[in-house]
């Protein structure tokens, strides 16, 4: 039930309402639970509500953790 999907904010429709896209799918979402959302922001959407803003460092951090894991596993190609 706790599924949440990253969406990109396209248009602010009004107070706590925005149009957001996940791939080709556009949905009206609520932004009551996040601060200062602007078009272009990436948000995590659960049950029609943005529950958190995502930052671009996310993918970097995951990559860093992977490198750490590979180094631990003795992978010679780890950074």
């Amino acid at each position: 039930m706790c599924l949440a999907v990253p969406h990109t904010i396209e248009t602010i429709l009004g107070e706590n309402r925005a149009l957001a896209a996940a791939g080709a799918v556009r949905t009206e979402i609520r932004t009551d639970l996040v601060e200062n959302v602007v078009p272009g922001d990436t948000v995590l959407v659960h049950a029609g509500f943005a529950i958190e803003k995502l930052s671009p460092e996310d993918s970097e951090e995951l990559k860093g953790l992977w490198d750490e894991l590979r180094a631990l596993a003795g992978d010679p190609y780890a950074r």
Partner: protein, 334 residues
């Protein structure tokens, strides 16, 4: 190790993670599916409101969950007004468009989902919508995780914590795992590689003898959680004891509307009293939910109990442990 999130349960199966784990690692599923832990009495309360002519709006996951009086789906087939919503806020539109009907939202879910219900109640109060109310059966995950951490029969070595619950709650509500029980608690995302990272972190903490609360879910999970959502939860809800199907009553594990919002509380508006409800004969969902058995050990699994005619709630939900085992389990190591 135990995961306590239905989305983890399904991702673990779909990706085949269990088949590549070394024999020394055993991953069990805990009570991570809110549909599955919703008490029978709670579902019966929602059905009774349909019988009394109200519109009941609920997330689709809840529709097929059976209790003695049927299910939301079977009531709808008989012409009663049960509606699927994908966002709690749709209920407000239904209420505004049907001013002569009582419209009730069935609030089910953990801390990821509860803030949306809180936003609905706050908005309904702001706009003074008189015909909308909420059945709040939301549940809090930390008390259930603590119950399992303290269970001597389970002998767990660590918890893979639900990423999206922690987006809202942050790290602090689960700090008791390392601090009180000496257990690793690792917050993980839902992609297979994120789950593997989480499991690797639990193992590493074990090897180093340094249990800690750590997130491997990137910046989505902030240490302090989502302050705006937490503020709304605090504004609208207070803690109460709640009945978890298969587990029993866990103190302070439920969310009830505060007195300030009691005019939106369907339990009060309709003077409902919740029956504990008896589990279906032979159903071992309780032991499945607490990781004590795996679904194939239940005599009903795949015989009397299938996704098409589920006996217990763990088979009903796509994220229930029994439903996931039914679809994916091919007899590989549990």
């Amino acid at each position: 190790m135990m995961e306590v999130c239905g989305t983890h349960t399904v991702s673990v199966f779909r990706s085949g993670i269990r088949t590549i784990l070394p024999p020394t690692l055993r991953l069990v599923s805990g009570p991570g599916c809110p549909v599955c832990v919703t008490g029978q009495g709670e579902i019966e309360a929602a059905l009774s409101l349909l019988d009394r002519g109200a519109v009941v709006a609920a997330y689709g996951d809840m529709f097929k969950v059976p209790c003695e009086g049927g299910s939301l789906a079977s009531k709808r087939t008989r012409g009663l007004d049960a509606r699927v919503v994908t966002s709690a806020m749709e209920t407000l539109t239904i209420a505004v468009e049907n001013p002569d009907r009582e419209v009730v939202f069935l609030g089910v879910g953990f801390e990821t989902t509860a803030p949306a219900t809180a936003a609905l109640v706050a908005e309904a109060a702001r706009r003074s919508v008189p015909n909308l109310s909420v059945l709040s059966f939301h549940k809090r995950t930390p008390p259930a995780v603590e119950l399992l951490a303290a269970d001597p029969d389970l002998r767990l070595s660590g918890f893979l914590l639900p990423g999206h619950v922690c987006v809202i709650l942050g790290h602090d509500p689960f700090r008791f795992l390392p601090e009180k029980y000496g257990l690793p608690g690792v917050i993980a995302g839902f992609e297979p590689e994120q789950i593997l990272l989480g499991l690797a972190e639990i193992v590493r903490q074990h090897e180093q003898g340094a249990p800690a609360l750590r997130s491997v879910y990137g910046t989505a999970v902030k240490r302090e959680g989502n302050p705006k959502a937490l503020g709304l939860l605090e504004e609208v809800f207070e803690h109460r004891d709640a009945t978890w199907r298969g587990i029993g009553t866990i103190p302070d594990s439920g969310l009830a509307l505060r007195r300030k919002y009691e005019s939106f509380d369907a339990e009060k508006r309709f003077a409902l009293s919740l029956r504990p409800g008896t589990p279906p004969a032979g159903c071992r969902c309780g032991e499945v939910l607490t990781g004590k058995i795996i679904p194939p050990e239940c005599p009903l699994f795949r015989s009397a109990c299938t996704p098409l005619s589920p006996v217990g709630p763990c088979m009903v939900s796509g994220e229930g442990t029994c439903g996931a085992y039914f679809r994916f389990f091919k007899g590989d190591r549990s």
